[in-house]
Symmetry: C2
Subunit: 412 residues, 2 copies
């Protein structure tokens, strides 16, 4: 791992200064290699699937593992798309003269070497590599042991693409061992790795955050809320509450708790409950909710802090927006929360006071997504407070250094 | 410490939503309290000085510890100045419509609770408290044991000022114990503390970075370089090389290594050496330098990675700008580096390729400073790569969350 790190550090200087055209060519060259290597990719993937079956992986995991032709299409499409995104590297902002006569500005620069630790889906290899490359970073990828053959095959395409363009192959390295110790080392070498992005289950992310000696950009829970204010438009409230919960269940930006203002609860909740029950969502509520919805189960303290990722919803009646905000800031995961209201003043206050990476007015929490936000791509959604919050795109993989232009200026 | 943390977390919600006028009033109220408390501050400081003397602290440390009337003036001036700075909190950038019809933007928000760990100078208590407060954060301050009485006296002024304006006193807390364990706890409670800013010697900062379970914004070394290109203007080169080394020695943005292009070394170095020797700077050089400057000592590998903070300078002759950049990126501390050149192309490349928090053309490294950059204040200079690089002002104590404005929008 130290050797991998050393090579990545060396390569990072080359990627950092590669111009936009060169990086785009490399991305397209990798896409061409994937196209050519379809049979090899399917073959390598078959080995992983076979091993997975014999190790008794469940059907959902095997499905995520599979590299169908459609998924290879998506990887190629992904490379094309990242190539078409604007390059953040080198952008200079706020360059201005200060009283001493020097000009001071900020230049956007790559972070250096990024370590990505992820689980089963092999297409993450391409997603992560393309974003790191475009943002001028070298990357060390450590995928799940169950997808090792597929990842190696993808890695070969990447290396060939880089070599064809004359970029160092060490700009993208895939860890070849499934040894757990490799992860322990990767997250402990700040001299070679500048930031770690873990993608996977909560257990993985908690373990990495606890042990890392390198900064981590992470996403823990997605306990998202919709608060229906008494000054809400009823139609918008119902549409958003249904969409935020039921559009997709297993995603981090799905609503897990619905907060409803007492003034409209008796009138609106029965209709909403019926909509949820038609779709098959289990409802758990506070005592007031249980009085209004006979089929709802009683919610426990645990329910307010659970990311169900399933057709289950907890519902609580609150007295006013202040109570809703306190509930969100206390039980939520600082991910995405939305207020439904027609009140200008309440919307204004909600935006400021809710301490989450995405705060919304009259929109479904399902919009919290790099593509929907126009970032063009996303490497993950950060629930951290420093560096980047919310969907992390190319810019989140860079930082800004100061540039100073003088003409022989000295400090007096 | 956990109780302190809990109270800070609670207070942080109030400071975060306090409007600019209220925060400014609090800063001015604290200034008024300091003015009134001058005798009490001097008295408390006398206790620290007395203890310091009996513990045998050296003269330099005792000097840093002393709260003269002029230093109290500076603290008051500091509060006035921070009150006059623009408030970054709540600023919304890049709010725009995206194809789905929602508007997406980024709002600047406080980090939450900041822990500051610092050494002897008691005026840091005011500097840090004022910046954290203005940027909407709660803060826990942990000063050096040698300044505990002074810090407590300053803390009382802060508490009174906050109370007078109706802000929670827990918005600024000064740890009352000198117990080392308190630091260990402060840096291990991510549930209460969002970021740690250590200010002090390298030993302190390394220890904290190693043990922290909370993100750290830190400044390690300042091994700054000036590279004199063969296309430099001789007068500017000499002026900047002298200024960067000799303007002040004990500061992180002083030059520690001078790199000189071979084409001008023989001609220019003797003049430069004479200037340095007149001022009393010890020179250590590579073999070529030693040939040109008879009095120079031979530099060892260690010299290239030493922050002297003293009238000592290492000098190396390089073949071209590429060699200079490789030396800087390898031996430097990614703090501040400057090229002296009249070449447009070399200046352009140097800015992009040097991986430091401040990169300069034709200016003294001594300009790397929050005040010189127009930030109005600085809590420190970050040599980290994520979140903030270089001088960290109010903006560095905030991050950005996404705000989404819709009109009943749902994901299709």
């Amino acid at each position: 791992m130290h050797e991998l790190g050393r090579k990545a550090r060396e390569a990072s200087a080359w990627v950092a200064k590669a111009d936009t055209g060169l990086k785009n060519k490399a991305l397209l060259a990798i896409a061409a290699e994937l196209e050519t290597a379809r049979p090899a990719l399917r073959q390598a993937n078959a080995v992983d699937l076979e091993n997975g079956r014999s190790r008794g992986l469940d059907a959902a995991l095997l499905d995520r593992l599979e590299l169908t032709d459609a998924r290879i299409d998506t990887m190629i499409e992904n490379l094309n798309q990242v190539a078409s995104l604007p390059d953040p590297v080198g952008t200079i902002d706020d360059l201005k003269y200060v009283p001493s006569g020097i000009q001071v500005g900020k230049m956007r620069v790559p972070l250096g070497v990024i370590g990505i630790i992820y689980e089963s889906r092999p297409n993450v290899t391409i997603e992560a590599a393309s974003l790191c490359l475009k943002s001028g970073n070298a990357v060390i990828l450590r995928g799940g042991s169950e997808s090792i053959a597929s990842n190696q095959a993808i890695a070969q395409c990447i290396q060939k693409g880089l070599a064809a363009i004359g970029l160092p192959e060490a700009a993208v390295q895939v860890v070849e061992t499934t040894d757990r110790q490799a992860v322990g080392t990767l997250i402990s070498i700040p001299e070679y790795v500048d930031v770690i992005v873990p993608r996977g289950g909560k257990g993985l992310i908690e373990r990495i955050s606890r042990d890392a000696r390198v900064p981590v950009i992470k996403h823990l829970d997605g306990i998202c809320h919709v608060y229906i204010d008494d000054l809400a438009d009823r139609e918008k409230a119902v549409a958003i509450a249904v969409n935020a919960k039921t559009h997709r269940y297993g995603v981090c930006n799905a609503m897990e708790t619905l907060l409803v203002n007492r003034a409209v609860a008796a009138d609106w909740l029965p209709e909403l409950a019926q909509r949820y029950q038609e779709i098959g969502v289990e409802l758990r509520g506070c005592s007031e909710v249980c009085d209004l919805i006979p089929d709802a189960l009683a919610a426990t303290e645990d329910d307010w802090q659970t990311e169900y990722l399933a057709p289950v919803l907890s519902i609580k009646v609150v007295g006013d927006m202040g109570e809703a905000i306190r509930h969100i800031n206390r039980y939520g995961s600082h991910h995405t929360d939305s207020i439904i209201t027609e009140s200008y003043t309440r919307g204004r206050d909600f935006l400021r006071e809710v301490d989450s990476s995405s705060v919304m007015i009259n929109a479904s929490t399902r919009f919290a997504d790099g593509f929907e936000y126009g970032l063009g791509a996303e490497i993950g959604i950060s629930t951290d407070k420093i560096h980047a919050r919310g969907p992390v795109g190319l810019e989140g993989l860079t930082s800004q250094k100061y540039v100073v232009l003088g003409d022989g200026h000295i400090r007096k």
